[in-house]
């Protein structure tokens, strides 16, 4: 493992390691672990005091789920799972010695319980009660008392109104074409209607004692918006609570037999807080975004939101504070340093940082080479304070908190932002500018007068030129009522032969124009055109007519001249419009 992590420059690492609170124990970018924080468990699975890491792994593409058990940097055991693991937890099932915790893995509708890493028990969620009306209908179908179309209509009616959703069987039936119905009904009619819930999340809750090695119940959140508390010995359902949304994250404090508080972050963006002896949520926190993590630290409920904020709430749902993160939060977990009585919140960010907060004070920032996907802190091996981090590419990082390390508040960002120390980038002025300023001070009046005079002259000339252009139709756009025309010309080629394309467009809305002529005026010493005068075809409104002609440059002295294009109406000597084309200098050799 040392080889894996020694790729960085040694000097820089040693330096940063000295000031860091963490020892880099292991880094394997190819560990091939793809999981969520909920599926990471640190527990003394063999009861030998050597804590192992159990990982519910989704597999590289989320298709090969397996359970991995790691001891130190190596994978001790691996066993394939039937379905993707949603959550993992370690819990003590009974009072008997030796007190070896069992490992529970929630997957699909089942919880798989392992003891001593051997399959021990499988708990399946009870079937949900089907809609009685639906049941009736299928019973009738079984006895062929109802035809398929009526069945379909009735089922659709149930779907529209009923509180209890339809079973998959009915939903699939509703999708079918008429011809397929018969076979489907015959195949399935004798089967009981089933609705199966799925476990979405799982956590543990101490049963009746707060000790670290006390019995714990499993708390399951299900897809049908319920929370179940399971008895650790008999695996019966001790309590059932319903929520207004599907739970995603759970946080529990207290003991089941005494008093407990349950916070459930749900898919509707709300967090519900429940207490013992109430079937319904007591308080509700509306986040207005989706929660991405939920951690209970020192009685403060810390929630990460998709808007890159960490919020702190009291157990009654009152917002205490908000901290903005520099990147999207991917995962969160609790950091508990028992020796110092510290509970802090770790947040893994998309930019590869792990930020550790105590309330709103930033305690520490750990930088990892990739986006962090899951975090876990606790006893690993024989080391009390170990941080397990997995990254997006499947990497595994194990860091050990130095025994001397103390998290001090305010170690993060304090004081003015660093940008305040940067110098302002004020544009410099040149000597010339200063000289001109001085000149303006001395002769400002003269400058102003000259400028004003020139401005008037310019305006006068512009006006004159405009009038002249209007009078002699020298402009390329003709705005007369009868022949609204637009002309523009393009010259292509390097010479001595150029291609001159005139684009002529009739800009009237409806009327075509007929009987136009084009005439070129040019210096015959310099240029030769095959035809200096030709007729324009009928111009349909809106279309662009390219009229092409070749121009040959006769001079070899590198002189260029203007070619004038006149558009005329038959029988009139004044042009409708005209264009001056500045011919480019011929770059090729003149034709011999």
């Amino acid at each position: 493992m040392a080889a894996a992590s020694s790729s960085d420059s040694e000097g820089g690492r040693a330096e940063s390691e000295a000031s860091s609170k963490w020892l880099d124990a292991h880094y394997d970018p190819m560990a091939n672990i793809h999981t969520f924080s909920a599926c990471l468990v640190l527990a003394d699975l063999h009861g030998d005091g050597e804590y192992k890491l159990a990982v519910g792994d989704l597999g590289p593409s989320g298709r090969q789920p397996c359970l991995k058990v790691l001891k130190g940097p190596t994978v001790l055991a691996e066993s394939a799972l039937p379905a993707l693991p949603a959550a993992a937890a370690a819990f003590l099932m009974g009072q008997h010695e030796p007190r070896t915790p069992a490992l529970a893995l929630a997957s699909g509708p089942c919880v798989y319980v392992y003891k001593n890493l051997r399959p021990y028990f499988k708990f399946s969620l009870p079937q949900l009660p089907p809609n009685p009306l639906e049941q009736d209908l299928w019973n009738q179908a079984k006895e062929d008392q109802i035809d398929h179309l009526t069945l379909k209509e009735m089922l659709e009616g149930i779907r529209e109104k009923a509180e209890v959703p339809l079973s998959v069987q009915s939903l699939r039936f509703l999708q079918l074409e008429l011809s397929e119905m018969e076979a489907f009904v015959n195949q399935h009619k004798s089967k009981p209607i089933k609705r199966q819930a799925v476990i979405t999340t799982m956590t543990t809750l101490k049963k009746n004692m707060a000790d670290e090695d006390a019995m714990s119940c499993l708390v399951l959140g299900t897809e049908n918006k319920e929370l179940l508390v399971l008895d650790p010995e008999a695996f019966t359902i001790l309590a059932k609570m319903s929520l207004p949304g599907v739970p995603v994250f759970l946080e529990v404090s207290g003991q089941f037999d005494v008093a407990f508080r349950l916070a459930a972050a749900c898919r509707n963006g709300n967090i519900y807080i429940l207490r013992r002896d109430c079937k319904r949520p007591k308080y509700c926190i509306e986040l207005s975004t989706q929660p991405v993590g939920l951690v209970l630290a020192h009685k403060v409920l810390v929630v990460g939101s998709t808007q890159d904020n960490l919020h702190g709430f009291t157990h009654k749902g009152k917002r205490l504070w908000t901290v903005h993160m520099p990147a999207a939060i991917l995962t969160m977990n609790l950091l508990e340093q028992r020796s110092r009585g510290l509970q802090a919140v770790m947040a893994g960010l998309a930019n590869g940082e792990v930020r550790i907060y105590h309330d709103k004070a930033l305690l520490n920032v750990i930088r990892t080479p990739d986006a962090v996907t899951s975090l876990c802190f606790g006893r690993y091996g024989r080391e009390d304070n170990t941080l397990i981090v997995t990254t997006r590419g499947g990497g595994l990082i194990i860091k050990i908190l130095k025994r001397t390390a103390v998290f001090a508040e305010g170690a993060g960002e304090v004081g003015p932002p660093p940008a305040q120390a940067m110098k302002l980038n004020v544009p410099r002025k040149t000597r010339l500018y200063v000289d001109q300023t001085l000149r303006e001070r001395e002769a400002g009046t003269a400058m102003h007068r000259t400028f004003q005079t020139d401005l008037y002259l310019l305006r006068l000339r512009a006006a004159r030129a405009y009038v002249r252009a209007l009078e002699s139709s020298l402009n390329p756009v003709s705005a007369t009522a009868r022949e609204p025309l637009k002309l523009h010309a393009v010259v292509q080629g390097l010479g001595p032969t150029f291609k001159l394309t005139l684009h002529l467009q009739n800009t009237s809305t409806a009327r075509p124009i007929l009987g136009l002529l084009v005439c070129f005026l040019y210096n015959e010493v310099l240029y030769a055109l095959p035809r200096a005068f030709f007729k324009v075809p009928l111009l349909v409104p809106g279309l662009n007519y390219p009229l092409e002609t070749f121009v040959e440059s006769l001079s070899d002295k590198g002189i260029s001249d203007i070619i004038k294009v006149l558009v005329l109406r038959e029988g009139q000597s004044a042009p409708l419009l005209s264009a001056h084309i500045n011919m480019p200098v011929s770059e090729g050799l003149a034709a011999a």
Partner: protein, 546 residues
């Protein structure tokens, strides 16, 4: 189910990587029968069913995974799972479609997302969530009326949802039905209080031009969520607009405590510091903004005016020119450029900047007055007079305009006209004195008294204030603002300075020649001070705020 369960069982019992399991010696137990009867019983009971008909997959099997990928913004992985789940369930998994639609919307394919949400609404018509999302997509497509209809449908299914009320309110805002919008937003607040709802309510009041009500709303919002920097900044800016500087500074300061890099708050607080002459502190604060938003015209305008206040005129011009380059159509920057060039005695340049400013803002007396000052210095008396005439016509409360005009007329020997202007000025002064306790610029007073003497009207005018009331000073700029222009642009001092240069140009023995620029004692904190020109920036910050 049985098929899958069976498969799962077989996997569950067989060691997959037996080699790995060897050290654990787990082979035997994994193959042995389960310890509990329940386990095997369930397995056996499922076996016979398998032969009859294929089991249906559980529709919601991977909803949790889709959701986890979605909230972690890993949309590619999310889409892969959605595709798989939809294939398996033949498009029946509503949640997968729902999230797919959400992702489409995030990617900007609003129309596609709308269609998918409608599919969801068909799959489970009783779910208000789907309708809400349909409405949201309609809203994003700009179909506010349709969105309102769908939201109203959703509201029938779920009456206690603040989100529906809030979004209905927002739709009504876009339809300009402010009363309905207010009702809905108040409903939303009643159900559950959210910062966003407060912001929207405040926005309505601002759109209606009711600053006081907006401030009330924002006050409540800040009470509810005291750490929201956006709320704090907005409230601070509103107070600033009303001229209640103490409170404005308090809120802006709070905003900066929570977020020391808040662009808007820094600009506003900085401009207030400039007003008090704390140029160095303001410049330090601006550095943060210069790093975050280096191409902000108001920022460079303010920095420029800081340098102007520190009498670093070349730097001031550089910064203002950059501001002007970034926002060539902002007349306030042009105004400031004109002012600085007047100070630098570059009258020809000043003329250009001022005339450009007038082109963008043709309704401000002070601009014409400054133009007239520039023209006077360029010895174009005719046009200067015309500019003054325009200034006098437009301006309603600034005595400086008349005073400067009177000085020009007196210098031209038109004593009668000068006297008229002088009397106009007296009227305005009296008006100002009655309405507020505005501190008159000493240089202006001196000039007026000299002119009065020259015109032989005597010293009848009482310039000095009876008592300096420190409290009422806060309000003074707002009073003057209410009278005419939205901001007390171009303070007395600045104009006085401009005026003095105009006066120094000719015969009137004044000795004011632009030397007495900083005459105010710095101990008086909230007077209109030399660099109130910085105010345009505040204004622009506020405008953007709206």
């Amino acid at each position: 189910m049985a098929e899958e369960a069976l498969a799962s069982l077989s996997v569950f019992f067989s060691p997959i990587c037996s080699s790995h399991f060897v050290p654990w010696k787990l082979d035997a137990p994994f193959l042995s029968l389960p310890l509990r009867t329940q386990f095997s019983a369930s397995a056996e009971s499922q076996k016979p069913q398998l032969k009859k008909a294929p089991e249906f997959p559980i529709l919601e099997k991977q909803n949790w995974l889709i959701h986890l990928h979605y909230i972690r913004k890993d949309y590619e992985a999310c889409k892969a799972v959605i595709k798989e789940q939809l294939q398996e369930t033949q498009g029946l998994c509503e949640y997968a479609i729902y999230v797919q639609a959400l992702i489409f919307r995030l990617e900007g394919n609003i129309q596609e997302s709308l269609e998918l949400f409608q599919t969801c609404a068909v799959l489970s018509p009783q779910c208000a969530d789907n309708l809400k999302q349909v409405a949201r997509s309609l809203f994003l497509l700009g179909k506010h009326k349709a969105a309102i209809e769908v939201y109203s449908e959703a509201a029938k299914l779920n009456q206690k949802d603040w989100e529906i009320c809030h979004n209905l309110g927002v739709c009504y805002i876009y339809l300009k039905q402010f009363n309905k919008a207010q009702d809905q937003l108040h409903n939303a607040l009643h159900l559950n209080r959210h910062d966003l709802t407060y912001i929207m309510l405040g926005k309505i009041h601002l759109l209606e031009g009711d600053l006081d009500k907006a401030i009330e709303i924002y006050k409540k919002a800040v009470e509810f969520s005291p750490e929201n920097t956006e709320l704090l900044t907005t409230l601070g800016l509103l107070y600033l607009q009303l001229g209640i500087y103490q409170k404005a500074f308090e809120h802006l300061g709070n905003a900066l405590t929570y977020d020391p890099t808040n662009y808007k708050a820094i600009l506003a607080a900085g401009s207030m510091m400039q007003t008090h002459g704390d140029f160095d502190v303001a410049l330090t604060k601006y550095r943060v903004v210069a790093c975050a938003v280096p191409e902000s015209p108001p920022l460079w305008n303010n920095i420029g005016m800081c340098f102007f206040g520190k009498k670093k005129y070349v730097a001031a011009i550089s910064c203002l020119k950059r501001a002007n380059y970034l926002a060539p159509f902002d007349w306030k920057i042009l105004y400031n450029l004109g002012l600085v060039h007047l100070t630098m005695q570059q009258y020809a340049s000043a003329f250009h900047f001022l005339s450009a400013a007038i082109n963008f803002q043709p309704k401000m007396g002070e601009l014409y007055m400054l133009l007239a000052v520039a023209l006077t210095n360029l010895e174009d008396i005719e046009n200067a007079k015309r500019a003054y005439a325009e200034a006098v016509r437009l301006d309603k409360c600034n005595p400086l305009v008349n005073l400067n005009y009177a000085v020009l007329l007196y210098n031209q020997g038109e004593k009668r006209a000068a006297l008229t202007q002088y009397q106009e000025m007296e009227k305005k002064v009296n008006l100002l004195k009655d309405s507020s306790s505005l501190e008159f610029d000493s240089e202006m007073v001196e000039m007026a008294q000299k002119l009065g003497a020259a015109l032989q009207v005597g010293e009848a005018l009482v310039w000095t204030k009876p008592v300096k009331d420190p409290k009422s000073k806060h309000r003074s700029p707002s009073a003057s603002k209410a009278a005419s222009v939205p901001q007390p642009l171009g303070s007395n001092q600045a104009l006085g300075q401009a005026m003095s240069s105009a006066a120094a140009y000719r015969k009137l023995p004044s000795g004011a020649g632009g030397t007495s620029q900083l005459t105010k004692p710095p101990s008086l904190p909230l007077e209109p001070e030399p660099t109130e020109e910085a105010h345009p920036t505040e204004a622009s910050a506020q405008i953007r705020e709206k």
